[in-house]
Amino acid sequence: MDIPSLLGKEVRWSRHRLVTLCFLLLVLPAFFATTTAAFGTVIPEDAPVGIVAENESVTDDEIALIKGGLTLFSEPRVYENASAARRALQREQVYAVLEVPPGLYDDGTNNVTFTLTVDGSVVPFEQPSKAIQGIAGGYLDREFDADVTVRREVVGGTHSLSEYLLPVFLLGIVMLFAFTYLPYTLARERDVLDRLLVESSLDAVVATKIGYFAALMLIPTLAFGAAAAYLNYSVTLFAPGAIAVLLLTFVYLAAISTSIMILTNFDTVGRFLNVAVLLAAITFSNLVYPVGFFSPVRREIARLIPLHYSMVVTRSLTLKDTPPSLYGDYVLALVGFTVLTLFVLKLSIERYKRTI
């Protein structure tokens, strides 16, 4: 009986917060989505780049030499074969793959062509990949007697920066809601918490609230979809996998923000803490730029943050024509992290019960 009753209450509450909810769920998302049109260029910096031999006759020494050269302007990673390198490219483990041709040290070789493959959907890496193409070409030409050419090849569909930013901003809205509006409603719940604890349970209150707000996250998705249609963007926002990851992301973010609120006894300090976590998550998750932009340290930090993987999967499923199974391990890790955050939430609820 608890859940439907509390759900009814949430709907009633939402009616009284219609203006706020409209602003947060419709106006703000639409504004964010529209502002993507104002973005046109990005800042190049070092990023993970894959190296793979074109065939088996490429020696380890040649690969090592190429790797040493790429270290100057990227974080090179050597892959065993082309399909592994391509997989890494699609999963944003690397942002370009340099294919090394055979015969670099053969006396009779006059011209060699390297291929630098980039993913067309990772728009912020378009300009840096051109820079890498130029720098790598100059470096390799100096190292080898033969004339070296680096050919740049784009795989997958190409997208505008505006399209690229759409899933980013959608995730931003989810983060904003989880770390600001949800804590606000929890703080308001404090007015009636004693009665709720007698008549129901904190577990039921929290579960209902998170479930209800997770469902509300479909509204900004619709708003983004409408904006994308209006702007004629080529983005599949309603991909079931992307929506599932978005909702999963909201659940673990909500579990974190709710835990913070409960651990701070629903105090204002909890709301400030949540805003701080929000800002940190935005800063360090590399939601917009590929990891490795700005600093190698941020690259390593981003790789440790689940939000980064939420972003990679959401972006990939909305922009690329890739099967969801390609990101199976990412999704599994996100599910595991969600379970962990829910466990922490449960512990914080138990702690609250023991301290009141």
Binding site: G8, R12, R195, K353
Partner: protein, 253 residues
């Protein structure tokens, strides 16, 4: 009733006699760090009674009240509460401030399984809540807020209601109406526990008096057994006994 979150609360007996307590707190102690709020307190509430819990500020009334409701865990002791729960009325009105009065009643009726529309209407009428039914609860005056809180406590006709300062913020007419409501409720066989500073207001209706002082029970007697002695009223007796306990504690003559 056994509350799953509360190890110290035990289930009520479905086969209790009329004079068996419907709510029993036994040997309750509660300490907050070095501060002892309650020390070995017993509270036994029988059905069909109005049980007043009085005491000066800091005597432990609110702590005992919260322990009875399962909102605070005792350091030791046990709570035997009725299976259908306790209707809580709070000193600081507890309801959704963003919902209207009617919506609050709807939400908590659904939550507690209160489906007696006639009773709900009677509550609203007696507490004169019908005139503010569509008003946002956060905009209510203190008196109407208290009335809404009381209505929510009584909504599902619980076997026991525990009301903390139920007269607070109420006007004299509303106080009279509330007393009538509570005595009728008592006469139907329910138990009413009131924690109050205003013993005088309840003097004519209470059946049992428990006085707390410094976390211990000073007086715990049925109203009929209390000898006023030289005092003119129950209120005067309570004040005199409390002052005497205060003097004993501080060593004043």
């Amino acid at each position: 009733m056994t509350r799953p979150t509360d190890d110290d609360r035990t289930g009520g007996d479905d086969h209790r006699n009329d004079h068996d307590p419907i709510l029993a707190l036994r040997e309750i102690s509660k300490a907050y760090g070095d501060v002892t709020a309650l020390s070995g307190v017993d509270l036994s509430v029988e059905p069909g009674t109005i049980h007043a819990l009085v005491g000066p500020n800091g005597s432990g009334k609110t702590t005992l009240f919260r322990i009875a409701l399962g909102l605070t865990r005792p350091s030791s002791g046990s709570v035997d509460a009725p299976a259908d729960g306790i209707g809580p009325g709070f000193q600081r009105a507890n309801f959704y401030r963003d919902l209207t009065v009617a919506e609050n009643l709807d939400v908590f009726a659904a939550l507690t399984g209160a489906d007696d529309e006639a009773w709900r209407e009677e509550l609203c009428s007696t507490l004169r809540l019908d005139r503010v039914r569509d008003r946002r609860a956060g905009d209510l005056s203190g008196g109407f807020g208290k009335k809404l809180d009381l209505a929510l406590a009584l909504l599902n006709r619980p076997a026991v209601v525990c009301l903390d300062e139920p007269m607070g913020d109420l006007d004299d007419v509303s106080k009279t109406n509330l007393l009538d409501l509570l005595t009728d409720y008592r006469d139907e066989g329910h138990a009413v526990v009131v924690s109050t500073h205003q013993l005088g207001a309840f003097a004519d209706v209470i059946d049992h008096l428990t006085v707390l002082h410094d976390g211990a029970v000073l007086v715990d007697e049925p109203r009929a057994a209390i000898d006023l002695g030289e005092h003119d009223s129950l209120h005067d007796l309570y004040v005199a006994r409390s002052l005497a306990a205060e003097r004993d504690a501080t060593g004043d003559i």
